[in-house]
Amino acid sequence: MPPTPNYGKGLRGLSLATVVTLSVAFALVFFYAPLDADQGFVQKIFYLHVPLAIVALCGFVLGGVFAIGHLRTGERIWDMRSYVAIHMSLIFAVGALITGSIWAKASWGHWWVWNEPTLVSFLIVFLLFATYQPLRFSIDDPERQGRYASVFAIVAAAFVPLNFIAVRLAQGFVHPRVLTLGGGNLPGPMRLTFLISLAGIALLFATLWKYEMTAKHTRMQLRALRRRVLGEDTVRPLGRSAAPS
């Protein structure tokens, strides 16, 4: 096994930064950001929903970028990075869909709206990436599993922008947009709150990603040690798994 970086390193600092940023973000959301004139208090879910969606999307694409690293180098660590990024993004995406649904219900009266292209595109991207785990689980040989998962991740990452274009064009009319994704036309205090929330969620993603990487890595090293010390035959072989090992 090649010498591997110490994943635990920097984890404490990162966790602290996340807690602080998220606390500040929530304080700003509740006490600083002004109430939206039309939507009132429920609009504040925007500070959770949009950052979750942005971070999940970036995480999916990041998974594709890591997958390129895997195919280029053939090293399993890149596969694991890609896996953890996509896995985390799926969780964040579920959060984004739920918060989006609540927001839609509160402000438009429906749990789901088809005329918001960003939301529809997001659902499609989520549906695509949700097949990542079943695909992995269906391939027994771990090497093949990693390679095929990487091919999938790269194709799926390229799919993200194409899908946005197609869904966008399919909308006969564009819903009057209260807020754009980048927060470009937000009033100052809202904009600041949004950016800090975004930073907090991004940090949360990074921390969780690092935690899972560290956990997986530790388990792998422990297993390798056990196999070496106790002998290969006494350690039970790994069962079927969707996760890289």
């Binding site: 027994d140 040989d141 771990p142 090497e143 196999r227 290969e232 072989p237 790994l238």
Partner: protein, 228 residues
């Protein structure tokens, strides 16, 4: 100066997940010689053949076939070796002739070579029947034609005489027998027969070499132990 070895393995290992299929396999096969690989089912014989055929990549150790190191230079040896695998690698719904013509196209060969081989194994009369209608022995003869179609320098033979009756065995002898003068790696369900036509014998047990010696020096005890 002695000719370069046709096949050279040093410390070869291959895993499937955590399962070790091959480990510490080191063999040297001179050009024109025959290596018999012996062992029980699942000992790693087929894995070894597939690695030599460039179908599986080795995980550790050095593998060199015809002076080209695998897997890096795999493209340079493809087309110079012929694999007769467990499965015939023929399309069941196409005829023998169509199958062989397809392979001749892949290897950019003259279709006349197909006719020549069909005649050599006496399959010319049934060559237009779909493979699925043929007996196992006939399919095996076609598979042998497929493996030697491009006149390969190295032959990798997994149980080459399975399903063949004595007459058919004599027919294919000039193609895959020692007389063909090719470097051969073969496995067989019949260790005595395999040893009789081999120069070197490699015994595999659970993916590890149990013995490696000139074929003539392998004792019946060694063989019995290998299969026990």
């Amino acid at each position: 100066m002695a000719e370069a070895p046709a096949i050279e393995l040093r410390g070869l290992a291959r895993h499937f997940g955590e399962r070790t299929a091959l480990r510490d396999v080191s063999v040297l096969v001179p050009a024109g010689a025959t290596l018999a690989v012996l062992g029980r089912n699942g000992a790693g014989k087929s894995t070894l053949l597939r690695i030599l055929a460039t179908l599986l990549r080795p995980h550790h150790g050095e593998v060199s076939v015809l002076g080209e190191s695998l897997p890096k230079r795999a493209f340079a040896v493809r087309g110079r070796l012929g694999l007769l695998a467990h499965e015939p690698l023929l399309y069941r719904d196409l005829s023998g002739r169509e199958n062989l013509r397809y392979h001749a196209r892949l290897y950019r060969l003259d279709p006349a070579r197909v006719e020549q081989l069909l005649e050599a194994v006496r399959m010319d009369s049934r060559a237009d029947d779909p493979v699925r209608l043929l007996s196992r022995g006939m399919v095996q003869r076609l598979a042998i034609c497929r493996a030697v179609l491009h006149d390969p320098e190295v032959l990798l033979l997994d149980e080459p005489r399975a399903n063949l009756d004595p007459a058919a065995t004599d027919l294919v002898e000039p193609l895959i027998g020692r007389a063909a003068g090719r470097t051969r790696v073969l496995t067989s369900h019949d260790p005595q027969a395999a040893l009789a036509e081999a120069d070197i014998a490699l015994g595999l047990r659970d993916g590890r070499p149990a013995f490696l010696s000139p074929a003539a020096e392998v004792t019946p005890e060694q063989v019995r132990e290998l299969y026990s």
